[in-house]
């Protein structure tokens, strides 16, 4: 998600459209959802996901990230 202090231009534009169509929300912020399927136990894969997030998925100047475990995948 964009950092709080960073201007979210997409969110702002969507807010405008919602207002025009009487579907106003208090605020709208737009981020990215990346789904990673990893090997190993939930701890190991969480660590790996964190590494991946830091390595390439997010730009720390502009974004924050959060890891959400989605559960196991049946082979």
């Amino acid at each position: 998600m964009p950092r709080e202090v960073i201007l979210d231009t997409q969110g702002r534009a969507i807010e405008q459209t919602l207002r025009l169509n009487n579907l106003a929300a208090q605020s709208c912020r737009v981020g990215r959802f990346v789904e990673l399927t990893l090997d190993g136990s939930s701890d190991v894969s969480k660590q790996q996901a964190d590494k991946i997030a830091k390595f390439v998925l997010h730009n720390p100047l502009l974004e924050t990230y959060e890891l959400i475990a989605l559960g196991e995948v049946m082979k």
Partner: protein, 221 residues
């Protein structure tokens, strides 16, 4: 010959940037043109044809054309199209028409993931009932030279819809040399009745020789 009172409506969204350019297309074809602001409804009897111009309406945010397609003016545009009025979507306008359901398919990011500016050769396939219908260079299998400038011009549609588009003669143009990964090299499509048309290249940018091509002239008659 167009009657002196022929009026073209140019729909303007916040962020449209080829709106003023389309006025030149109108002028060359002898039409009077009006801007139709996205917040307003308009009287569909007042216009002989409508153009949704290129640009970056709403900054292309969320999905290109997505927010514009939900503007109040689209109600009038929909009415106009339902009654068989000619509607042309150029580039971003094409994206708006697909998002509004007035044309089939969708436009997504170029396969190169980069904005691409350049010239393309278009191969005409099926005729629209209005747009470029009297183009002097139109020849099935022939070519028209027009410029492109877009980042989200790759035409996509799921397989059965694609079959439908092909079978019902709704493919308007194909690229001779696909610049963006469009499915089946589709550069432009028509609706079922042929009055609504959309294409990614810009006919309004090819009006005079010094621009690099005059093939845009015949699109509005």
């Amino acid at each position: 010959m167009t009657p002196a009172s022929a009026r073209l409506g140019v729909v303007r969204f916040p962020g449209s940037n080829c709106d003023r350019d389309v006025l030149s297309l109108a002028q060359v074809a002898g039409y009077q043109a009006d801007f139709l602001w996205h917040l307003d409804h308009f009287n569909i009897q007042d216009y002989q044809a409508l153009v949704l111009p290129g640009g970056f309406s709403y900054g292309d945010y969320l999905r290109a054309g997505a927010l514009s397609a939900r503007s109040p003016v689209m109600n009038s545009v929909r009415d106009f199209a339902k009654r068989g009025g000619p509607v042309l979507g150029i580039c971003n306008g094409f994206q708006v028409l697909t998002e509004a359901g007035l044309l089939p398919g969708a436009l997504v990011k170029n396969s190169s993931l980069r904005f691409r500016d350049g010239w393309v050769d278009l191969v005409p396939e099926n005729k629209s009932s209005f747009w470029a219908s009297q183009h002097s260079q139109w020849k099935v299998g022939g070519q028209l030279k027009l410029p492109i400038a877009h980042g989200e011009g790759r035409f996509y549609s799921p397989p059965d819809l694609l079959r439908q588009i092909e079978d019902s003669g709704q493919v308007w143009f194909r690229y001779a040399d696909n610049p963006n990964g469009s499915l089946a090299n589709i550069a432009g499509v028509l609706n079922e009745t042929g009055n609504v048309a959309g294409l990614m290249p810009h006919p309004e940018r090819a009006l005079w020789d010094w621009m690099g091509s005059e093939d845009g002239r015949g699109f509005l008659r």
